[in-house]
């Protein structure tokens, strides 16, 4: 342009040279325009890219010029921050007007520490918005210094972490709820680091094993030592299989606590893997199922007992029927048989009520004297300590008492208006010589007449007890009234099953 070819330039210079000069100048001008455009376009594109990234990441980039006391911000919230007096980044760091009062001190301290070079600038704080709302911001920055180390500028970014904070709060609340539920249900949570072979667990988890709570991970061996020796290899194989197949492991395990208490634990566990699929940890929940196990065992025992009792009962009923069949009169048979069945049923009811755990002696006596309940305490007295009888003994004794009561009503002390019966029982002797004794004493009744023949009643009152309990049984009929005595050696093979406590 400097040397135009037309009216510009020195006319003495040849036209071709002037043309070349003009071409060169124009070419330089055109190239300059294109280069400048490319540079500016690249700058605009770079800035646009930065804005897009900041927008996408919801990040505000800021620069605090400590010399000029100014702040520049770029990003989605820049306009908002710059347009609201009191919300500009500079005010946030120095006066902190917009910062939540609870966070101001930590923000100021963080900024001051960064300027002094003590720590990198990294703070999280709440920002109060003009509309009354509040946002959580995380701010990170770096201090630019001159060659003498004096701070010139602080460059950094803010990002909105409100959602994260809300999620963390929700998570904390959820964890608290879960911990409460776990405490209430006595459920323990645990994580086993497969590399260190150490277990980190909640206090409930350690309590289940009878161990003190520990914030530090506990060696797996310490836990495994509580499993019975014979179970350990099976447990280890099951865990290895679970890791190998990727299936969660659900099983019941026995443990013996350090205090010797045997417990059953239900454990559900699974494997945590890293990004490459390598197993890094086992985690799971554990809770105590000892009561359930005992209940299950009791049910099974009960089923076996019921089956056994039913067979016995049918045998007894069969014997009763056969013996009672000696009564020629069908009406008498029906009455006697029905009465004996009722006695059997009364003992049975008591056993069912106690889940076949045993029957209190006094209750057993009362049940068999149900027809004379109104006389108990007046004409019938019961004396003896509380003793719980096992089912087998209770059933045999109950039938005998029923038979005694029937005889007393028909022929003995209860057949008149003045007779009384004293029923007494006790444990006599000590240690290996302990015996259970029970006496049935009638008096003031009609003079008893010993039976001329031994029927089913005698079998029930004497023979059956002798066989069932290896007892010594005596039945006499002195003039004062009938006397029935039972003497069972509790240390004998059958007597051992007589008394529970």
């Amino acid at each position: 342009l400097t040397y135009g070819i037309g009216r510009f330039g020195d006319p003495t210079v040849p036209l071709a040279v002037r043309a070349l000069a003009a071409q060169t100048g124009i070419l330089a001008g055109a190239l300059s325009a294109l280069f400048l455009a490319a540079v500016f376009a690249a700058l605009r594109e770079s800035e646009g890219r930065l804005r897009s990234i900041l927008n996408a990441a919801d990040v505000v980039a800021w620069e605090v010029d400590l010399i000029c006391d100014t702040v520049h911000a770029t990003g989605p919230s820049a306009r908002f921050l710059n347009s609201q007096p009191g919300l500009q980044p500079f005010n946030v760091w120095t006066s902190g007007d917009a910062v939540h009062p609870a966070d101001r001190e930590s923000v100021r301290a963080g900024f001051a520490a960064a300027l002094q070079g003590k720590a990198p600038f990294r703070v999280e704080f709440r920002l109060s918005l003009p509309d009354g709302g509040m946002r959580w911001l995380a701010s990170e920055g770096t201090v630019v210094r001159d060659k003498d180390g004096r701070p010139l500028r602080v460059l950094g970014v803010n990002h909105d972490i409100t959602d994260r904070k809300n999620a963390e709060a929700a998570l904390r609340e959820s964890e608290a709820r879960m911990r409460l539920a776990a405490q209430a249900a006595n459920i323990g949570f645990w994580v086993l680091d497969l590399e260190t072979q150490r277990v980190r667990g909640t206090p409930e988890y350690f309590a289940l094993f009878g161990l003190p709570p520990s914030d530090e991970p506990v060696a797996l061996e310490q836990i495994r030592a509580l499993y019975p020796l014979e179970d350990r290899s099976r447990i280890i194989s099951a865990v290895e299989e679970s890791i190998k197949t990727g299936r969660s492991l659900v099983e019941d395990r026995r443990i013996t606590r350090p205090d010797g208490n045997l417990r059953w634990l239900h454990i559900v566990s699974d494997t945590r893997r890293d990004a490459t699929g390598r197993p890094v940890a086992r985690y799971g929940v554990t809770f105590d199922i000892t009561e359930r196990k005992e209940s299950e065992e009791h049910v099974q025992l009960l089923m076996r007992e019921i089956s056994h009792r039913a067979k016995n009962l049918l045998t007894v009923v069969q014997v009763m029927a056969r013996q009672t069949a000696g009564e020629v009169d069908p009406h008498v048979f029906a009455e006697h048989f029905g009465d004996r069945l009722a006695g059997l049923a009364a003992s049975h009811d008591l056993l069912v009520k106690s889940d076949w755990h045993g029957v209190d002696t006094a209750d057993l006596v009362r049940s068999q004297l149900a027809h004379f309940a109104h006389l108990v305490g007046t004409r019938v007295t019961l004396e003896g300590p509380p003793l719980k009888l096992r089912p087998a003994g209770a059933q045999a004794l109950g039938m005998a008492l029923r038979e005694l009561a029937t005889n007393a009503a028909k022929y003995g002390a209860l057949s008149n208006a003045a007779g009384v019966i004293r029923i007494a029982w006790d444990i006599v002797g000590s240690d290996r010589g302990r015996r259970f004794r029970m006496r049935w004493l009638e008096r003031d009744g009609p003079r008893p007449r010993p039976p001329t023949k031994r029927g089913f009643g005698h079998t029930v009152m004497v023979e059956m007890l002798k066989q069932a309990l290896e007892a010594e049984v005596r039945l006499d009929y002195p003039s004062s009234g009938a006397i029935w005595e039972l003497d069972v050696q509790l240390d004998g093979p059958l007597g051992r099953g007589m008394i529970l406590n």
């Binding site: 009216r7 071709a16 124009i26 455009a37």
Partner: protein
């Protein structure tokens, strides 16, 4: 029943013919403009050859599959321009080949270096265009100079002819091709009306300023005033608008200065 002719190649052939014709007509118009500058520069060599930039820009946009059409159009237009300008008939085919080769070389280099993603907003791309223009124009100038020497009708020393030809074609490519290259991307994006208005105003202002500056009578200001007064406009367009506006500004700059 199928006909023996394959409709697809026939259709393509017609398209290529149409493109060759269009290129030829446009190239002829641009060449006429170049020949006008030739008249003002005492009939040595045209000092500005916008036709080269036009053909190179079109071929860069369309891609290498259209090079035959473009080359045919360029050769035909060059011959026509020579005939119209009453220049030596025997030079015309040789000049046509030189011009066509120049366009093909520039487009091929751009394609080879940057693929189909040539961008005016990328500084290496712009520098690449400049280098490609220099290589293409240099080779074409060499061919044209040789032609003139061989036919025995040079009006200036061979070096002068080569330099003038080289500068004219390079100027044409650098000022016109970017405008064409920048138009398709610009047409694809939604332009903010403010930016469009600002770019248009800046270009009009540059045209007016250029016209006024180059209309000044000869004087001592001639060494400084043109550049000093036009540079702010160029800076404005380059800094505030899309690169296609800067390309247009360069073209306006060249046309307005050489027109005088």
């Amino acid at each position: 029943m199928r006909s023996g002719a394959d409709p697809i190649p026939l259709k393509k052939w017609f398209a290529e013919m149409r493109l060759a014709a269009a290129i030829g007509i446009a190239y002829l118009a641009a060449a006429w403009l170049g020949l006008a500058f030739l008249a003002k520069s005492e009939n040595i060599v045209a000092v500005y050859w916008p036709a080269a930039g036009f053909a190179a820009g079109v071929l860069i946009i369309l891609g290498p599959s259209w090079r035959l059409s473009v080359a045919a159009g360029v050769i035909a237009a060059t011959i026509a321009a020579h005939l119209i300008a009453h220049r030596h008939v025997w030079e015309a085919p040789a000049f046509g080949v030189c011009n066509a080769a120049e366009v093909l070389i520039v487009a091929w280099l751009i394609e080879r270096w940057f693929g189909r993603g040539f961008k005016l907003g990328d500084l290496p791309h712009v520098m690449g265009l400049f280098v490609a223009a220099a290589i293409g124009a240099g080779l074409a100038a060499a061919g044209a100079t040789a032609t003139l020497e061989l036919l025995g009708q040079p009006t200036a020393p061979a070096v002068t002819i080569w330099l003038l030809w080289f500068a004219a074609d390079a100027l044409g490519i650098v000022t016109v091709a970017p405008v064409l290259i920048g138009l398709p991307p610009a047409s694809h994006r939604a332009w903010p009306s403010l930016e469009l208005a600002e770019g248009s105003i800046a270009l009009v202002a540059l045209t007016v300023a250029g016209t006024l500056v180059f209309a000044l009578p000869p004087g001592p200001w001639a060494t400084v005033v043109p550049a000093a007064s036009l540079f702010p406009f160029v800076l404005w367009v380059a800094g505030r608008c899309q690169p296609v506006f800067a390309a247009a500004a360069a073209a306006i700059l060249a046309a307005s200065s050489l027109e005088r």
